[in-house]
Assembly symmetry: C2
Homo-oligomer: 349 residues x 2
DNA sequence: TTTATTTATGCAACCGTTTGCCTAATGCCA
DNA sequence: TGGCATTAGGCAAACGGTTGCATAAATAAA
């Protein structure tokens, strides 16, 4: 049997409360007593029973990350990994454990998340936006544990804690890089429609064009699917035009790969005649036939931030809601690395 | 404040023990009493305090997955995701929670895994082979909680529970497919050296060749790195030979991609003149210029198995150790899909 | 010296469930 | 109708900590 606080107390010749106090650094304890207790703990190889602790002070010192197994995005790329690692790292630093639970699963009448909270096993939850519903948010609120959302939606706005990627900025940066490289007419291929992250990127794209006094090309924003085929189709359509775009920003790596291949098929050289930027920076872009410039997101940091603001809220429920936008980084690769000479020439015409 | 079992008892006019008994389906309780208790629970929206429960019966009903943040493999591909999802799913089905913890992290003197176990927060652990040391295994043994390893090493052998991929079978199957497609001389590109999974694949490769009375080609087993460049280099070397291989099995998707590109550069048509099989089935193979045939592993099932045998051991510590090898599946794509006609021709010569 | 204050520690209740043991009520048989 | 099983449920201790309150010893102030 493992040693308990009482065993330690007995061996050290003090009371359990004293041991507890040195363990938690509460109250004033003489150095001598501390010494005796320390050596007793040492001798008995004492490790506190964290369950008993959680029970006594009513908090599990754990947070939960709810996962969406049905979410193909998380499933297929490594967004999930790094975010989990980030959350775990930050949680650990604050002495919290991380419990993973499936958002879809239910436990008799109530969802497993609610059970986890109501059962006092966790003090807070981080929730991917794909699982957020008003209903769920309200229930969590009722159980009065804090919550932070990964990503955001229009509805959530400033009514919740969230961390998200600054997609507007990403869109602007992509446009800016293409303009710097001398591309004149930039299209945008989106892998979806209504999602906030796509809307944001498109907004950034529009804004940066506007800031440079450039119009959004006619039919320059296409909505496709996250597949190579869709990327090829879109680019074929784009390039039918006489005055076709000479660069494209894709909101998905498969789209971008399709764009690259369609351009090659149509005999365009990338990057010389056609520039491509993608958004997810999976290995697909780095290892494409022509490596593709991509927006990179530090998903580890995303997780760290999420866990940190969650724990802040747990430790001080008065803390006001927080929303955090993470900057992105543009990793330039061959697909946009052309000499800007062409630009100069073009201007001369 | 949340309702406790005492509140329920009071409202139902029974004692807490009776409520506990219906909750745990122990002892004999009349239907009438059950009814009263059920409606009291309903009315009070009672949810058991799982921490108090764990405390009372000395088991957290949780397992831990130890992760290796430094492991580039897990970090970069989606092996990790699916395995976690599988573990979570199986754990949940058995009413266990899943706690993720970083294998490298430490908590004062002891590692976070040990703390989790000694602190009674988990009843068992699943451990990636990359983190396994004799030392760690011994310590876990001392704490007398069961453990299952993801993957295996020579040292571990039959001395522990593990689930692993049947890499020998994968190697054999890859060879068999290539032979069926009429390839005559098959090389093997490994992305490493000593790892058991590479050794196994190579063993399978050798065995299947032997079973077909074929020799391992001279210099037919190359050890490279998990990069596209290394794949290109290896294939260039291989193809210098007059009597060069006409197919290659790669133990990594980047190697395979490199192989594909080198073949193209050297003017070989894939699959007609050169066949390629890879082993990880990441999107890289599916979306390569020529989609690459790949060994697919059901990492979700791997997680499920791991969790299941772990929980078996937890619930019945007498259960003997178990080792499970999971079958792989060969997903055939363009890189090997050639008419076997060529084979016939070749035979006619 | 006496009294007030500070410092260091002990006592015991409490957190919410579980469970071994005991008892009251019911049913059965002789 | 008394005695013995059986059934249904209550009592109270236990799980391992934490913490408010009380107190003894040591020190400072009067």
């Amino acid at each position: 049997m493992a040693a308990t606080i009482k065993d330690v107390a007995r061996l050290a010749g003090v009371s359990p409360s004293t041991v507890s106090r040195v363990l938690n650094q509460k109250g004033v304890i003489s150095d001598e007593t501390k010494q005796k207790i320390a050596s007793a703990m040492e001798q008995l190889k004492y490790v506190p029973n964290d369950i008993a602790r959680s029970f006594a002070n009513g908090s599990a010192h754990a947070i939960s990350l709810v996962i969406d197994i049905s979410d193909g995005t998380a499933y297929a790329n490594n967004f999930f990994n790094n975010t989990v690692f980030g959350i775990e790292t930050a949680a650990h630093q604050n002495d919290y454990n991380l419990i993973i639970t499936n958002g879809a699963a239910a436990f008799g009448g109530i969802s497993s998340v609610e059970r986890l909270i109501a059962g006092k096993k966790v003090d807070g939850v981080v929730l991917p936006i794909s699982l957020v519903t008003d209903e769920l948010l309200r229930r969590i609120e009722d159980l009065s544990v804090p919550c932070v959302i990964l990503g955001r939606s229009e509805e959530v706005g400033a009514e919740a804690n969230w961390v998200d990627i600054n997609n507007v900025q990403a869109g602007r940066r992509a446009v800016r890089l293409l303009l710097e490289r001398g591309y004149k007419k930039i299209a945008f291929l989106s892998d979806g429609d209504g999602e906030v992250f796509n809307q944001d990127r498109i907004a950034g794209y529009r804004r940066e064009l506007a800031a440079n006094h450039l119009p959004v090309p006619n039919g320059g924003i296409l909505h496709g699917l996250p597949t190579v085929e869709s990327g090829m189709d879109c680019v074929r359509v784009l390039l039918q035009d006489d005055d076709a775009p000479d660069a494209v920003i894709c909101s998905d790596d498969r789209l971008a790969l399709g764009a690259l291949r369609a351009a090659h098929q149509l005999g365009l050289r990338v990057p010389e005649q056609f520039g491509i930027i993608s958004c997810d920076n999976t290995p697909l872009t780095e290892l494409a036939e022509t490596p593709i410039t991509s927006v990179d997101v530090d998903t580890f940091a995303l997780g760290v931030q999420a866990a940190q603001i969650l724990i802040e809220q747990i430790e001080d429920p008065q803390t006001s809601l927080r929303q955090i936008l993470l900057s992105t980084k543009l990793i330039e690769r061959a697909s946009t690395m052309r000499e800007t000479r062409e630009e100069t020439e073009a201007i001369h015409i």
